[in-house]
Amino acid sequence: MQTHDAKRVEITIEAVMQSRLTDALEKAGVTGYTVLPVLGGSGRSGAWSRAGQVSRGTGMVQVVCIIRAERLDDLLDAAFAVVKRHIGVVSITDCQVLRAERF
């Protein structure tokens, strides 16, 4: 099967910042992304969990984008402008996709 190189960007960020981040990504020309709920975890700010959330102020989500390598910098610039002051993790990995025209 023919596969194509692509970049997978995972941005784990506070739920309150989700719409700001996805708006910024769309402005940067990123039209494809997936938003996932995050159950819980632990990091520099301590442990946290999705259980019993009464406020969007304390939840986290993960935004996943798969794009062509030449568009990565634009995406990262847009994402970083939104998330730089906030709790969150941005990671980039190489991946393979089957249908290159979709990314």
Binding site: V16, A47, G57
Partner: protein, 329 residues
């Protein structure tokens, strides 16, 4: 004084408070008891709709008087004023830094709708009525405190750091957050349809209300206990003292405004409860956007882990007893 103790004892042994206590104890004991997130949201939607609807019906039933507008304005003024009082008190008692103190202060100007709902339930069980538009006052008190908190921050920092804290998106989120839309919307539905509308859906809106409130408070107990466990390291004795003292101070401001407005005993008690309560839904979300440098463990633990349980167990009967004594109701 005997009445206050009797009222407090009755309140402590109510199913509502005992459900909260169960959740709190289970959480502190690290039980795996949990209310699924979606179920908790459904319960809160039910409670907000029911309380807003019943408030609207009450206004339709009793009519609108001149105090509606002035009470709304008083609510806005209280919400804007209380963070400044809270900020000064918190800095004095705990020595907390300006940023975190302002973030905490914003929570204490805004309101806890669950505390309000619990208080209306206590009033109903005592046969006391209150002005139906207090629901609208509750909605009006959600947002001004956020502005006061941000003002407290920006006046103490260089202008370039304060820029961009309030963007259009944040304004929209604050003013159109789901709780406010549901509360105000159901208030107007209740107002428009009146007692006939309530009659149509009373088996859904009235009868299950206290049972649903018990389940919701069970979840709130779990959340509060989790907050206490995880956030206790962030608090010192002074800040915990603030979390217990500020609601009483706020309630006295509420009482002062209620007396000026000439509210009924029930209305005065509810305005005291609103002024005494601290937000843990709308304001934390706004603070995470506008003041991400502030530590959420501090403000969430104080509002949810200290002030909320205090108001639910001791505060509500105390404010009701004071309102009764002062207004002669």
């Amino acid at each position: 004084m005997t009445d206050i103790f009797a009222l407090a004892a009755d309140n402590l042994l109510s199913p509502i408070v005992l459900s909260f206590a169960l959740g709190l104890a289970a959480s502190l004991a690290r039980s795996d008891l949990s209310v699924p997130e979606a179920a908790a949201k459904a319960l809160s939607i039910y409670l907000l709709f029911a309380i807003g609807f019943k408030g609207g019906v009450s206004v339709a039933d009793h009519g609108v008087d001149l105090t509606l507008g002035t009470t709304l304005l008083a609510g806005v003024a209280l919400s804007a004023l209380l963070p400044i009082v809270a900020f000064a008190l918190l800095r004095m008692l705990s020595g907390m830094d300006r940023l975190n103190a302002a973030a905490v202060a914003g929570h204490y100007g805004s309101i806890s709708i669950v505390t309000f709902v619990a208080a209306t339930s206590v009033l109903e069980s005592r046969g006391l009525s209150a002005e139906g538009y207090m629901v609208a006052v509750a909605a009006a008190m959600e947002a001004p405190a956020i502005l006061s908190a941000l003002w407290l921050i920006t006046r103490g920092e260089k202008s370039e750091n304060g820029e961009g804290r309030m963007d259009a998106g944040l304004w929209r989120e604050i003013l159109l957050n789901g709780s406010i839309v549901l509360l105000v919307g159901s208030f107007f539905i209740g107002w428009a349809t009146g007692p006939e509308g309530l009659e149509e859906i009373s088996s859904f809106i009235v009868a299950p209300f206290k049972g649903v409130l018990c389940l919701f408070l069970l979840d709130m107990g779990l959340v509060a206990g989790r907050g206490m466990r995880e956030g206790r390291k962030a608090l010192n004795v002074g800040s915990i003292g603030f979390g217990l003292l500020m609601p009483v101070v706020g309630s006295l401001f509420g009482l002062g405004f209620a007396l000026l407005l000439g509210l009924s005993t029930g209305g005065a008690a509810l305005l005291m409860v609103l002024a005494a309560s601290a937000s843990y839904i709308a304001v934390p979300a706004a603070m995470r956007v506008a003041l991400p440098e502030a530590n959420p463990s501090i403000y969430l633990t104080l509002s949810l882990g200290v002030t909320f349980p205090f108001n639910l167990t001791i505060g509500i009967p105390l404010y009701l007893a004071i309102a009764t004594a002062v207004t002669g109701g």
